[in-house]
Symmetry: C2
Subunit: 485 residues, 2 copies
């Protein structure tokens, strides 16, 4: 299939996307047509054969079925993870990136995108209060944490790039009990080991207790280990809590540790005059990560790693392979930035954020951010005022609202372990009933300190735009299922 | 901008993509409108402001400029790196993936895609001769090598996941002198260190010398180190050479090392009855990587890591974070495969390969593969028969053809270091002249054993389909510039 047929295929695809309501699911559309995996294996023709299935009718049916049985993450009732829908400018950028199919490795293969990545990184550094740093787009937030840990280790022991870390005192990193699991994965991959990730206790709101961090650092040193890295979380995965960056930075400076601010979920606040206080002290961090794919409406993947040390990314990661990074060229090779990366081929994710910001302006990003927090506040108030609902954390500026539903027959009864065990089950039953009905997808979670009973978690993102109506709907739907239990 | 406006934006975008010839560049179109970075910074409005630039006219202009000044990697004259254009079914899949915007982390958020990834991985394992293994799609081939190294280490020292690698004998890995740089990046990241990557000499064709490997392994052991990993290359970056998997597997078995077959570029041969002998012994490898984004025509990113050890990926990488991977669900959680990954959010790259294979069938993939090798053979013969051209390696079944151009005034003169130093310069001059004219983008490279003089490298990929005409054009264009030197 060459040119014209290919374009016909894309034209048809565009029609199907519109027909199937994928691009703008209506409120009344199901979020998901749930089928058990075994059933879907039967109903969908997954097999690959020697002969192709390329008649227009066969391809159309495949595309329609893929869309029909896929979850509509850009439905306003999708609240399962920390992502969801997208800004259409972001999707427009994604499609252009796919059509141009290139890698921001050297300037000549990605001229516009190489310069754009630099512009976006400088703008973000500036917003986080860093004057002259560096950065790189990564395939997700977990990868950004791996960059941070690798860079921190390299800064402390530059020779480890050559020699490895075999004959040295164990390196130790610290993060809060409610941090994202990527730090454990990172410790495993980077040869540090999961037991050298020291988990610091959190307060009621889910914020790392700074005093406890210092105690653990001192303890590690006394055990002959080398504390080198602290990961603060700016918007935890469950409660949406923001760690105290100023407090943590003081400890890091005192003990020579790298401070990484994981703002993958909550880093968006930097665009808001009203909420940027949540990341007060970001300029003191050695590095910051932020995923515009969450609150910012950039389609997956779009994540950025930022550091205040200009040149360190390249120094740490470069191998200078001549077949990619020739040193003598017909333009200045300072624009060939691929050797900063651990990847060779990578996508041009920066363009998604750039186009959204270019089209909408920073002011619009502020409005989007404020809307998230205000919607969260609205939901929080709604839960406080509604019989049978209870907040997990009260009075917190957070983009993530966690709450229990207590059915009528349990209201007012003694809240003993048996009570909470029932609540735990009820949460999962309501959640799966809603998924099977296709009406709402609401994630749930538990925390040891919070009765170890599953609660609903509604982690808000920028798109589709949360509204009073969508927040009302969450509570009403849960109640309508819960009332029948 | 909600729904309808968003769809209008995408409709306009589609029109622009057609107008600008991005989807199917004609032979006579330039591959690149080259502008110096400093000039492009002046000519393109990169700035991001508080106010947006979202009038339809402004957005249209931005999109047109992005396309105009971007390299047309799907032009038949783009030969700079190991990627290029794409199969339209692949682009169709990419656009669907973008529009559905989800992550194959748990079954409920990516039902169709989770099952599809499994189907594709099983099919590939089967083609490589592995009965019952496992696999994962990764954001590029370098990431696949990191998976391989991490898994190999975990298999040898399962306790390292917990303890790290601080108090153990240095681990050593081996690869050929012409392997991809990702192994050095991997060694740095994983705490192994670049000096523990032992580089094995290659023969004239660029294949690792098996006997030398064994000598180096013995030497490492005598130095108190632990050999654990050998990376074979199936299609080296420069010469397109295939290492001897059977020979390497014997050494690996003898010394208890993991054999990883890096087939990122050349793994495509498995689809061809005629060329799969190049990866003879693939069933003996512990793991294999393959990038359908190269010869297979899948749009970036699309890379897969395969291993013969079922369950090992999950065992090595899992953290079991409850807020993502709940153990009790309304469907069997064996379909929630995200915890095998080091990433949390990742794209559904498997669908690109699945749709291409579904639509075209395995037979068509065989034809595509054969065409690459036959086009390479045609180019090779053309160079042999043309005055002033010289192959770097003769008589090799390789998808990558490397050659020098020797201008008239140097033909027949003594081939001393001065001669080769002139050839080195001429290669880069011709290459940059062609880029600036927009007529051809041909990469160049050098190898110490090959007079350390830059040569042209044409690494063929599946799309756009290489043909006699496009191969003729490479030689003719080089000659037309070279004749005037």
């Amino acid at each position: 299939m060459e040119g014209d047929h290919g374009i016909k295929l894309l034209e048809k695809l565009f029609q199907i996307l519109k027909d199937e309501g994928v691009l703008q699911p209506k409120f009344s559309d199901p979020v998901i047509h749930f089928k058990d995996p075994e059933k879907l294996l039967d109903d969908f023709e997954f097999t690959i054969d020697n002969q192709g299935h390329a008649t227009p009718a066969a391809i159309e049916q495949i595309c329609r079925d893929v869309m029909k049985y896929s979850t509509k993450t850009n439905h306003v009732n999708f609240h399962t993870f920390l992502y969801g829908g997208y800004d259409f400018y972001g999707l427009c950028a994604s499609w252009i990136i796919d059509a141009l199919n290139t890698v921001p490795m050297t300037y000549d293969v990605a001229p516009v995108f190489s310069l754009m990545e630099d512009v976006v990184i400088k703008k973000l550094l500036n917003l986080y209060g860093i004057n002259d740093g560096d950065g790189i787009f990564t395939p997700g937030g977990s990868s950004a944490t791996l960059y941070a840990m690798t860079l921190a280790r390299f800064k402390k022991y530059p020779e480890s790039k050559k020699t490895g870390i075999f004959n040295q005192k164990p390196l130790v990193c610290f993060t809060s009990k409610e941090a994202h699991f990527c730090i454990d994965k990172g410790a495993n991959w980077l040869g540090i080991g999961e037991e050298n990730v020291i988990v610091i206790e959190t307060n009621e709101k889910g914020e790392m207790i700074v005093k406890d961090l210092e105690e653990e650092v001192i303890k590690s040193i006394s055990e002959g280990k080398v504390p080198f890295f602290v990961q603060a979380t700016c918007g935890t995965t469950v409660l949406g809590a923001y760690d105290d960056l100023r407090g943590l930075a003081m400890i890091c400076q005192k003990y020579g540790m790298w401070l990484h601010a994981d703002g993958c979920y909550g880093g968006q606040v930097i665009f808001s005059k009203k909420y940027k206080y949540l990341m007060d002290g970001s300029e003191l961090a050695d590095s910051i990560s932020y995923c515009p794919q969450k609150m910012g409406g950039a389609p997956l993947q779009c994540a950025v790693f930022l550091t205040k040390y200009k040149g360190l990314l390249l120094e740490c990661n470069k191998t200078g392979a001549g077949y990619v990074f020739a040193t003598e060229k017909y333009y200045s090779t300072c624009y060939d930035t691929g050797d900063k990366s651990v990847q060779c081929g990578k996508k041009v994710d920066a363009f998604k954020l750039w186009l959204i910001l270019k089209a909408r302006g920073l002011d619009a990003f502020e409005e989007i951010t404020d809307n998230i927090f205000e919607s969260a506040k609205y939901l929080s108030n709604l839960i406080k005022s509604r019989d049978g609902f209870r907040l997990v954390v009260d009075n917190q500026a957070s983009p993530s609202i966690c709450f229990w539903y207590i059915p009528k027959n349990l209201r007012g009864t003694t809240e003993n372990p048996e009570f909470w065990s029932k609540i735990d089950k009820i949460t999962t039953i309501i959640s799966s009933t809603l998924v099977k009905s296709g009406r709402q997808m609401i994630g749930y979670s538990k925390l040891p300190k919070k009765h170890s009973a599953n609660f609903f978690r509604v982690a808000l993102v920028g798109y589709p735009r949360p509204s009073k109506e969508s927040m009302d709907s969450i509570v009403n739907e849960i109640e309508s299922v819960g009332d029948k239990l």
